[in-house]
């Protein structure tokens, strides 16, 4: 669908320096809407969660949701922002049917939080992302375009609107322009949103489910010739709704803009749409100037003036933030920052933590989540956390290995059973008869059979070539189909071959 000429990514960086910026919208997890008592439950029947306030009917008056304001301040505090002592809501006027009121209630020149920062790490290097502002506004309704192709607005006959989402508290987090990331710009953008998401989860202010639209990103990208003192004209790519796509959107825009700049074409300051399926962007609505929105202070809402005591109380109640938590866990588990980064990338930090909490050793927990379980998730094309096994079950499995009830190979078979829904590890071991053989008659017979079948090897061991015993152990493991414990088998072989 895209006919854009693209420059190879490596080539872009030989001539241009990217500057990126991100605007992230977060739907708060409050029970009720920002300015009225309508429920915010996701997935309700269309237009069953509206009232005169969120529909903007004449005579209705909004009242701010205290929880939403508190959540916004907590986000600001977690990002090291200055919390305003005086803050106001404003009306942003525009005509688009996703807002029933004719304006969006938002914040303009007096946001709740300003001047923060978030440090993110990419390939062992730390990039400081400056936060310009964090403000509170309301979400819009959802459009459904009818006619034309597959719900696209292009060619649609008319649109149908569900206002359930209109008025849900939405926090907008805006970065300052981020220069200096060079080739790593796409990854820095992704790392920023990833870390921001972790913080929001730790704060418990939002479910941050990107697939449900709780977290949405607009990604600004510009290129300037290397050595240029001025930054280039930026585009704003909307609809970037997955972590992977944040990276893809920046990369695509860099390649597209470089092609235009190479041929001397001016970059238009415009809104572009990201297409998840193709990884491309296309032009959207031409950007209105801020003055076109005719912002003015919202007369129906009084200013918000958080007093110092309240802010101090909220600051004292902040949870341990993800970066500090990772640092602490690294120490506790005795792992390096790089090893922790692997866990973060695999989405395994919480899983390992929970497994350790359920009694497993940190090294065993890491080994299973990053090894066998990561392999299973990869094969199934899902995230680790979506595997049908709980951290407690993984700890149980590890416990069975430590107790000598099963070995690693049997544990993998036990895992098959757990993932197939046959029950917990102990139950599966029992049901499938996976427990290792003890010093049983069956095992004694297998050991004797192995010695008998390999007289040459047995002779070598008797003659002092101890390492040759491995072949006999292997033979026993084979006849017992992995159910024997290798150490036990080795001990039994040694007893027989050195006693005589």
């Amino acid at each position: 669908m895209s006919t854009d000429t693209l420059v190879d990514y490596d080539q872009v960086l030989t001539r241009y320096e990217p500057v990126i910026g991100l605007e992230t919208h977060v739907e708060l997890g409050t029970a009720s809407k920002m300015f009225c008592g309508c429920s915010t439950t996701f997935g309700a029947e269309p237009n069953t969660q509206t009232c005169p306030v969120c529909l903007g009917l004449p005579g209705s008056l909004p009242v701010a949701n205290a929880m939403a304001i508190e959540s916004t301040i907590r986000i600001g505090l977690a990002l090291g922002c200055r919390i305003a002592t005086w803050s106001r809501f404003a009306r942003k006027n525009y005509f688009y049917p996703d807002i029933p009121k004719g304006f969006q209630t938002t914040q303009y020149d007096e946001p709740l939080c300003t001047a923060g920062h978030l440090d993110v790490e990419v390939d062992g290097e730390t990039y400081r992302v400056e936060i310009e502002r964090v403000h509170l506004e309301e979400d819009t309704g959802k459009n459904l375009h009818v006619g034309g192709a597959t719900g696209r607005i292009h060619g649609a006959d008319h649109s149908l609107i569900d206002y359930n989402r209109a008025g849900i508290p939405l926090v907008e987090i805006v970065t300052r322009p981020i220069p200096g990331a060079g080739a790593k710009a796409p990854e820095v953008a992704k790392a920023y949103v990833t870390e921001l998401r972790e913080i929001l989860l730790a704060l418990g202010v939002s479910e941050v489910r990107m697939e449900q639209g709780n977290l949405r990103c607009d990604v600004n990208t510009s290129l300037a010739p290397i050595g240029s003192l001025e930054w280039g004209t930026r585009t704003e790519t909307k609809n970037v709704n997955s972590l992977r796509s944040v990276e893809r959107a920046v990369r695509f825009e860099m390649r597209r803009q470089a092609a235009l700049l190479d041929e001397g074409t001016r970059i238009l300051q415009e809104t572009r749409h990201f297409h998840e399926d193709t990884g491309t962007t296309s032009p959207g609505r031409s950007k209105e100037e801020a003055t076109d929105y005719r912002y003015f202070p919202e007369p129906d809402l009084v200013p918000v003036a958080p007093d110092e005591e309240w802010v101090a109380k909220l600051a004292a109640m902040l949870p341990e933030l993800p970066a500090a938590r990772r640092s602490r866990l690294s120490d506790e588990w005795g792992i390096t920052p790089t090893e922790m980064a692997w866990l973060v990338n695999a989405g395994a930090v919480e899983l390992v933590s929970d497994t350790v909490a359920a009694g497993a050793s940190p090294s065993d927990a890491r080994k299973w989540w990053l090894g066998e379980l990561a392999r299973r998730a990869n094969d199934a094309g899902t995230d680790l956390s979506d595997l049908a096994v709980t951290p407690a079950q993984v700890a149980e499995l590890i416990g069975l290995i430590s107790a000598g009830t099963i070995n690693d190979q049997l544990a993998r078979q036990a895992l098959d059973g757990v993932l197939a829904g046959e029950g917990g590890p102990a139950a599966v071991v029992e049901a499938r008869g996976l427990a290792v053989m003890g010093d049983s008659d069956e095992l004694v017979a297998a050991v004797d059979a192995a010695i008998e079948a390999n007289p040459d090897v047995a002779e070598k061991v008797r003659g002092g070539k101890v390492q040759a015993i491995g072949a006999l152990v292997g033979a026993v493991m084979k006849t017992t189909r992995g159910k024997a414990d290798a150490a036990t088998v080795k001990r039994m072989l040694e007893e027989r071959l050195t006693a005589s």
């Binding site: 069953t48 509206t50 688009y96 459009n143 607005i153 008319h158 003055t291």
Partner: protein, 104 residues
């Protein structure tokens, strides 16, 4: 919005405002409204002459802050009532004319 100097408001500015407000205005009306709006702006500009350098801007008639409500869900309107007020409805949703100038 910038305040034009001394009662001047160009036809283009009025046309721009009309477009933002989604009002269909004829050429004759542009001229008429440019004059009328300029008179309104002139009247408002009188306020600018007051000596208020030491007075903080007021945006509210009542000196109140931090009026908030607890995060408690209250009943919404029945959908039939909500859609009864819409010019058109379809599939339990508000029906609006097609939205131009944007490709999604």
């Amino acid at each position: 919005m910038s305040t034009p100097s001394q009662g001047q408001l160009s036809r283009d500015e009025v046309a721009h405002l009309a477009r933002l407000a989604r009002l269909a205005v004829t050429d004759e009306e542009l001229v008429l409204f440019a004059g009328q709006l300029a008179a309104v702006l002139d009247a408002v500009a009188q306020v600018g002459k007051a000596g208020v350098e030491d007075v903080p801007p007021t945006t509210h008639a009542v000196p109140m802050t931090n009026v908030m409500r607890e995060d408690v869900v209250r009943p919404s309107l029945p959908r039939e009532t909500v859609l009864a007020g819409a010019p058109a409805a379809e599939d339990d949703r508000f029906r609006v004319p097609r939205i131009l100038q944007e490709e999604a």
